[in-house]
Amino acid sequence: MDFILRAQDLHLSFHGIQALAGVSFDLSPHEILGIIGPNGAGKTSVLNCINGFYHPQHGRIVYAGQEISFWPPHRRAQLGIARTFQNIALYPGMTVLDNIMTGRVIRMRAGVLACSVYAGPAHREHVTQRAIVEDIIDFLEIEEARHHRVADLPYGLQKKVELGRALAMEPRLLILDEPMAGMSLDEKMDMARYILELKEVRHLPMILIEHDMGVVMDLCDRIVVMDYGKVIAEGPPVSVQRNPDVIRAYIGQEVGTTQG
C-alpha cells in the first residue's frame, strides 16, 4: 500500500447541480498534495467528501486501508483525519486555550462520573492534556494570546489557532482549506514554516487548498488541478505549471506569473 488516502471517482450533485464529476487521486503517506483550481471548481466539496460532511453519490474514499465512504464525520476524525476551514470555524466565545483543548476531547478518557467529581482522575488528566496543548501553543508561538477570546484576535492569529486545534487531535492526515487566505506576507511565511516543519519532523501527510500560487508551488510535492468538478491535470508543480489545460482554465493568465 503506497497511499494513505484514495479518492476514487467521486460524483456529487445538489438538486441537479453537479459539484463533482468523477474526481480521483491518491495521497501518499509523506507528501503534501495541493489542490488548485478556479472558484467553484469543487475543491472544498472534495474536502467535505473526505472528512464526511458530504457523501458522494458515486465513488469511494479509502483511508488507511479502510473504505470510509459512509462513515460520519466524527468517526473519520477519530481515525485521525483533521481539517481546517476556509472561513475559520473556531469557537469565537472561547479562549485560545479552550479552543485548542477541544481538539483533545477525543483523547480524554474520563467518564461522566469522573467528570462530575473532577477532583482526582479527571483533573489529573486535564492537567496532562494541558501540557500537550501548551506544546502546541509553543510550536505556533501564540503564548501571548493563550487566555484571549478568539473573537478578539486578528485574522492571521485565528488561522494559527485553528491549525493548533487540528494539531491537538494528533492527526495522521491534515487537510488545510486555504490556510493562508487573507494573511500578510509575514504571517504567510510563518504558516509555511509550520507546514514544512510538520512535514519534515512529523512526516504528516497533508492536503492543501490555496490560491497563492507561489505558496502552492513551493510547498507541495504534487498538485491536482480541478475545474468544473473534474481533475484536469495532476503532477509535480513544474509540470502542472506548464500544462496548457491548466493555463486555459485560468483564462489566459499564466500560472507562473501570479507568483508573489
Binding site: 464525520p73 466524527h74 476524525a77 481539517r83 487531535m169
Partner: protein, 346 residues
Amino acid sequence: MSIRPAGDFKISYAQDMAVLDSTFNRVGFGALLAALVLAPFWLREFIFLLTTIGIFAVGACGLGLLTGFTGQISLGHAAFMAIGAYASAIITGSLGLPFLVALPLAGFVSFIFGAVVALPSVRIKGLYLAIATLAFQFLTEYAIIHMAGGVGAISVRAPSIGSWQLRTETQFYYMLLVVWVLSGVIASNLIKSRIGLAFMAVRDRDYAAQVLGIDLLYYKALAFGIAAFYAGIAGSLWAHYSRLITPEHFSIVTSIDYVAMVVMGGLTSVWGPHLGAALVILLSQGLKIITPEVIAVLPVFAKIATPLREIVFGSILIALLIWEPGGIAVLLKKLKRKLDLWPFAY
C-alpha cells in the same frame, strides 16, 4: 482578558485550571456557604423562600448546562420536573422505597426520558427544537392528567433519611442545601471537564465539533439527559416538599420560568441559574406578598391583582434583556470590575 487582582499569580497548570481561582472567589464562596448554612437563623419564617429558590436552582442548573453550555433550547424543562416528581411519588408511595433511593432514581427516570427526547435533536435544530420541546411539554402534561386521573393530583410522603423524618421546614432546608450545593458543584465540574468542552464545541459550531471527533448525537443526548436528571431531582424535591403534586405545578408556565431563570441569570455562567432562580422566585413570591398591601392603599389595582405577576415579570424580563443581554451574572462581573478599580476609572 480577565482582570485579576495583582499579586495573584499562577505558577502551575493545575492552579490555572482550579475552579475557584482567586482569593476573592474563595473567600466569597466561603462567605456565601456560611450565609446559606446559617439561613434558618436570619431568615426565620421566610426560609421557605430559600427552599423554593434552592429547588428551582437545582432544576435551572440542568437547563443552564443544556441551553447555556450546549446551546439546545428547551421549552419543556418542567415536563422533566414533572416526570421526576411523579416518579418519586410512585417510588416512595406504591413501591415503598425510601426517599434517599427515590431521589436519585427519579433523576435517572428523567435522564432516560431526556436522552430519548434528544434523539431527534440531531436532525432538528434551534427554533424547531424549541417548538418540539414545547409540544413535548404539552403532551406530557396531558399524559400525566390522563394517567393519574381527575386533575392528576397525588399526595406524597414526607421525606425521611433512615429512620429520621424530615418534618420541619428547617430540616428539609438542610437536606435541600446539601443537594443544592452538590448539584451546583457537579455542574461546574462538568463544565470544566472534557464533557464541558465537548458541550461548548457543540454549542458554538456543531460542524467544527464533528471535525474534532465529537459525536453530536452522543453529546446532545447526554446534555438532554443530564438536564433532565437535574429537573428530575428538582421534581422529586418539590414533590416531597409540597407533599401534594398536580400537573399544574409543572405546566408550560414553569417551563417558561425556567428559561427566564437561565436567561436572566446569565446563560454562560455557572452562577447564572442560581442567580436567576433567586430573582424569579423572589419576584413572584414578592409580588404575592406585596400585592395585597398595594391594593389596601390603592384599591384601583384590585382588578389587575391576579395578572400583575405576569405583567411585572414580563416587563422586568424584557427590560433586563435589553439592558444587559448577558444577565445578572454579567452585571455582577461588571460591578466587581468597577469596584476593583474604584475610585479610579481605569
